[in-house]
């Protein structure tokens, strides 16, 4: 692939037709305009991106399926077998993905059938909280890769309060949640403070704090009197006291716990913070251009610190939800379950917007829940979920690619906006 033709190829999509003035599209009927926007618009791109990613996943499943390999051996004598094998492997996988994440038709009652959906939301809870945390940092122009460390430290703090302190019902839970969020905020705040005070790059500091947090929690988990369960030699904490456990929202039949409500509250909070508050405006200003924000009289250093504190607290909420809601029988140093890194993709998919992050978190939760049932039922490794997730983000990030694959029209207004955005970008580079 030669890059010489790349800009040339990209041009027709961006540039307007010759003689066409931006906004002067009256000759076009409203209906066709609407169809163009619908077909080429963001919602459509998102749906198509998910479909493309699932197709790529299907290819991967089919290529590695043993029955498909076997039928390929006698392809020319009975080609139908080959396609049947592909169909069975792929449809089997995706049916179990659906049944594991949304609704299981094999169960007799609705109450049983809907259980997978609550599993999806349970998996989505920490993803949403942590995704919001990463998104807040993104908005202030900070890249928080420290989700793992922040979650672990938060899990340690919330877990300690949860099993070691004896407090009345209700208060205990709240104190544990606050402890977890504070610990997360502390861990994120270190990076923010160092960035603000010394200019230390937050990417380095958060990566380093991941390891520091991991080894700290590992040490505490094997130290009697700290996080280790009494009388045990395993690096594992005791079970959380019942007064601190997140109650199940729909009774003991479902795993969905109070943490999901916290995730919803966090989404509303972040929405307010980003879209309505003075602080959120400062975040966005600093994120777009710290120099301009400084000239406008904003305290950029303060913004860095506060953004990392809030980011860490939200990711801390994710760690708290893990220990108080999902794994209440005692946790190990693997409690973060890679959510700290998944959160980055969630935030990217949600384009760092609160509602978007919420939807992305639910989608990834569904893929995770369904992935486990796919692994159990069809023997397809859960790692395929990572492939599908990353492809979704890649495709959504590159609308021209999706449009090119499906030969979709470029929405009229978006084209103008895009061209304008590109000139804007060039202006930045020019400077």
């Amino acid at each position: 692939m030669s890059d010489a033709q790349i800009p040339a190829k990209g041009q027709p999509e961006i540039a307007l037709a010759p003689g066409q003035i931006p906004g002067a599209q009256e000759p076009e009927t409203r209906t066709s305009q609407f169809m163009r926007d619908l077909l080429g618009g963001n919602a459509m791109i998102s749906v198509l991106a998910v479909i493309l990613a699932l197709v790529a996943g299907a290819v991967l499943i089919a290529v590695t399926d043993e029955d498909v390999h076997a039928s390929l051996g006698y392809f020319f004598s009975r080609p139908a077998d080959f396609f049947v094998a592909i169909w069975e492997s792929v449809s089997g996988a995706y049916v179990s993905l659906f049944q594991g994440s949304i609704y299981n038709f094999r169960r007799p009652t609705f109450a049983d059938g809907i259980r997978p959906l609550t599993e999806t939301l349970t998996f989505a809870t920490p993803l949403i909280a942590a995704g919001l945390g990463v998104a807040v940092a993104f908005r202030a122009g900070l890249f928080n890769i420290g989700g793992r460390g922040q979650m672990l430290v938060a899990a340690g703090a919330a877990g300690y309060v949860g099993f070691a302190w004896e407090l009345p019902f209700g208060i205990h839970l709240i104190v544990a949640v606050i402890a977890g969020m504070l610990a997360g905020a502390l861990w994120g705040g270190i990076a923010g403070l160092l960035k603000a005070r010394t200019g230390a790059h937050e990417v380095i500091v958060t990566i380093m704090l991941n390891y520091v947090g991991f080894y700290l929690i590992s040490f505490l988990l094997r130290t009697p009197g700290a996080l280790q369960a009494p009388g045990s030699s395993n690096p594992k904490s005791p079970a959380i006291l019942p007064t601190a456990v997140f109650p199940e929202l729909f009774g003991p039949k479902y795993n969905l716990h109070l943490g999901f409500v916290f995730a919803i509250l966090a989404t509303i909070f972040v929405w307010y913070l980003i879209n309505r508050s003075n602080l959120g405006f400062q975040f966005k200003a600093v994120g777009e251009n710290p120099n301009a924000a400084r000239v406008a009289g904003m305290n950029v250093k303060n913004v860095y610190l506060v953004a990392m504190l809030i980011s860490g607290a939200l990711i801390g909420l994710a760690g708290t939800a893990q220990v108080l809601g999902t794994v209440t029988t005692g946790f190990t140093q693997g409690i973060d379950a890679g959510i700290g890194f998944d959160a980055i993709t969630v935030a990217l998919l949600g384009r760092s917007r609160p509602i978007g992050v919420f939807v992305a978190g639910v989608l990834f939760g569904a893929l995770k829940a369904g992935g486990y049932s796919m692994q159990a039922a069809q023997g397809i490794p859960i790692d395929i979920v990572l492939v599908v997730q990353s492809l979704i983000v890649l495709f959504i990030a590159a609308p021209p690619l999706v449009r090119a694959i499906f030969r979709l029209p470029v929405p009229g207004h978006t084209g103008v906006a895009r061209a304008a955005a590109l000139t804007g970008k060039k202006a930045v580079v020019t400077k």
């Binding site: 200019g199 230390a200 380095i204 080894y215 993709t345 790692d383 983000v393 990030a397 970008k425």
Partner: protein
């Protein structure tokens, strides 16, 4: 901490009054002071008895150096005093607004290290060559990754996908080397895999103008998912055929390998390590001494200007990002062909992110980034050596140490690190 105090001195006798701004940097004295106090706590308040022996030669060496015994109490307390003196000297320099010279910091670091080793291994023997050989081994993928990162960022494309390039290289080199039973074939496969990951990075960031950090992060996830999926589905059931690559043998270089200490460390290594030496030198030379390097850097610093003088910005970016992927992919081969001998799920274990830290720590300079990578490698090897001889510090804290040191170094000594100006910004020809 970084208070820049500006004082004006006006001289009345001279006809022209010059304003001089005095900038005092308090970060080095503070950082040095913290470690001096840490040393004091360890060496004096938690002081240990006995003698530590530093072994300088391996048994197979031609020239045998005698082992050096060190009395723990005497050595550590002396070093502790010297550390405080250096911190005081740094403070005195800061008062006079003179920068603490780098050699002083280096001396400080070495002294601290010697003191710490003496203290931690009281009554035991520390094999210095073993410590350093392991360091080179653990640093190798970090160095390759950091070189890839430096190249890519210097040309203006942020490379967060180092982890993905390493992992892709490790996976393909294991598979190809197993099938062909030729480690060299594995190396080429790793290079191609790294380039493929880079193609995606380049295509999405240059053609589709997607945020480069996003593409990088997503690529890491994609490669992790793909390799783990294929590992579970194909490699582990057919480990004999697909996941038993031959490892490179160690190739001692005649004469050079007999130099005391340095010989076993640097010149009794596998071919990948020798390629690494060449790669570091070549990247440095090419970047700063050739026309190609000048063009590359100009594209990364000011693409508009580069375009004006007739450099094709996007083409330069595309091919250099691919080259960066090739180097990082080669580093991935070290995991399977150089050290472990078989692919495993997520076997890079965050090495790509450490390499990224080395790039920033080394201020986008190939030599400094290599040194930073060596530091990381040394620290993690130090931990494993000390855990074998039994150290009084819990192993988790030893494992934590390199990362804590990095945080201090980045915050206290490096400060604001500025990357290439146009790194991360797409270029659209207007």
């Amino acid at each position: 901490m970084s208070n820049a105090t500006a004082s004006t001195t006006a001289s009345f006798s001279a006809p022209i009054a010059l304003e001089t701004a005095v900038v005092r940097n308090w970060k080095p004295p503070i950082a040095l002071g913290i470690f001096a106090v840490l040393g004091l706590v360890l060496f004096v308040f938690a002081g240990r008895e006995g003698t530590t022996t530093f072994r300088l030669s391996t048994d197979s060496d031609l020239i045998q150096l005698p082992a050096i015994p060190a009395a723990v109490a005497g050595v550590t307390i002396t070093i502790s005093v010297v550390l405080f003196l250096i911190a005081a000297a740094s403070t005195a320099l800061a008062v006079r607004a003179i920068r603490t010279p780098l050699w002083l910091i280096a001396v400080y670091a070495v002294l601290f290290l010697v003191g710490f080793l003496t203290w931690a291994a009281a009554g035991e023997t520390i094999p210095i060559p073993g410590l350093l050989v392991g360091t080179v081994g653990l640093s190798a993928p970090l160095i390759f990754g950091a070189l890839g990162g430096v190249l890519s960022e210097r040309v203006g494309v942020v490379n967060v996908a180092i982890e993905g390039q390493l992992l892709a290289g490790a996976f393909t080199s294991a598979v190809v080397a197993s099938i062909t039973q030729q480690p060299i074939a594995g190396i080429f496969a790793a290079i191609i895999a790294g380039v493929l990951v880079s193609f995606v990075l380049a295509a999405f960031s240059i053609k589709y103008l997607v945020d480069q950090v996003i593409v990088g992060v997503v690529l890491n996830v994609l490669v992790t998912g793909l390799t783990s999926f294929l590992f579970s589905k194909l490699l582990s059931p057919n480990a004999e055929l697909l996941n038993s690559p031959p490892r490179f043998p160690r190739l001692p270089i005649p004469l050079l390998s007999e130099i005391p200490i340095l010989g076993p460390v640097l010149f009794r290594q596998t071919i990948i390590i020798y390629i690494m030496y060449i790669a570091v030198a070549a990247v440095w030379y090419a970047l700063f001494k050739t026309k190609w390097g000048l063009r590359l850097r100009s594209v990364g610093e000011h693409p508009q200007a580069a375009d004006t003088v007739g450099i094709n910005v996007n083409r330069t970016r595309f091919w250099n990002v691919s080259l960066a992927g090739a180097i990082a992919g080669l580093g991935g081969a070290f995991f399977t062909l150089g050290s472990v001998g078989a692919f495993n799920k997520e076997m890079t274990a965050g090495a790509g992110f450490i390499a990224l830290a080395a790039v920033i720590f080394g201020r986008w300079d190939p030599i400094k980034a290599t040194l930073a990578a060596l530091l990381f490698g040394f620290a993690s090897n130090l931990q494993s050596v000390l855990s074998i001889i039994g150290s009084p510090v819990p192993s988790e804290f030893m494992l934590m140490l390199p990362y804590v040191v990095t945080i201090f170094a980045v915050a206290g000594l490096v400060g604001v690190s500025k990357g290439p100006a146009a790194s991360g910004k797409p270029y659209v020809k207007g």
